[in-house]
Symmetry: C2
Subunit: 162 residues, 2 copies
DNA sequence: GAATTAAGGATATATCATATCCGAAAACCG
DNA sequence: CGGTTTTCGGATATGATATATCCTTAATTC
């Protein structure tokens, strides 16, 4: 069970977009160059964010992506689910129904106890991600990333933002 | 990100093994038949449990598997990790290092804030699984599974336990 | 000695992640 | 208007992993 690398890409891209001045857009090309990623494939991740209404786009030169909501209104789970899907990590194939001792046509009233526990763990994972806002991440990064790198990065970004 | 179906198989098999009388073994063949699973492939999952020292085996006719510890000493996480591996679900490929604004040879002092949050969520998932013991599962099942099915299942099992 | 079993290696297949390419439509710019 | 730049979606190729089967070996029972 391994998350796709798109998750890392999407989260980092959102962190950059969160630092854009109001109304400006940043292109896939710039985001790919900044993170050293394949432009075409990163584009798929950004499309997922777009379909989830987390980012807005505009076409043409000076086009690209910007956040659709303020960073304090976006949490980690939304971003992760946008690229990874909302499906639970554990899927029950109902193997208990294969028990030869069951009466013919017996129907379970509840989901299996095993599945319920696995889903509870899944929910704990989602809860943790739901509690972290994109603005929290930006706050942490601005403290931890050395000031000169932080500043020059956004200079680099602004030079390319349409 | 999806767990393998072996996880469901392993958990259900452990629940059955937990109900075996002390010292008895149950074969792969019986476990596969009881759950309607491919014997050869289920065998791989049981081998994983064996390598994790969760179950013990013996060869020959009347051989098979039994728990290596009492059900109250085995938690869900041990079983899940035995078949699924202990690797974290999020892997950081350190894309921040590709930032062209970084000074040559700059070295990060901490793991990336993004990765730390994803790992925290992963840990919440593991914590939930760690807190549920195999004996808890057996307790729940014995309450929820209709008494006649529960009883006839273990009669079925005992008939095949070596 | 014959039958049964777990263990492990080799292999085949299906599904999914990763990656690239192309054409269409929209926006900007001269 | 025409050329350029951009997102978007579809098609396709490749690699890794999950799923599944087969076969050999060694241990155990009878
Ligand atoms: S039958 Fe699917 S988890 Fe129990
Ligand atoms: S560089 Fe990997 S999560 Fe930030």
């Amino acid at each position: 069970m391994i998350l796709k690398s798109q998750v890392e890409w999407a989260l980092h891209c959102c962190a950059i977009l969160a630092g854009l001045p109001k109304g400006r857009y940043l292109s896939t090309k710039a985001l790919a160059e900044l993170h050293g990623l394949p432009k075409e494939y990163l584009s798929k991740a950004l499309q997922s964010l777009s379909q989830a209404s987390l980012v807005e786009t505009t076409l043409g030169p000076s086009g690209g992506y910007r956040l659709a909501k303020p960073p304090s209104d976006i949490n980690f789970l939304e971003i992760v689910e946008a690229v990874e899907g909302k499906a639970r990590s554990f899927t029950c194939t109902n193997i208990r129904a294969n028990n030869p001792c069951r009466p013919e046509g017996y129907c379970d009233s509840k989901p299996c106890a095993v599945a319920r526990i696995m889903w509870e763990a899944d929910e704990a994972w989602r809860d943790t991600l739901r509690r972290v806002r994109l603005s929290d991440l930006v706050g942490t990064l601005s403290e931890e990333v050395p000031a000169d790198i932080w500043r020059s990065t956004f200079e680099w970004v602004l030079k390319r933002a349409g």
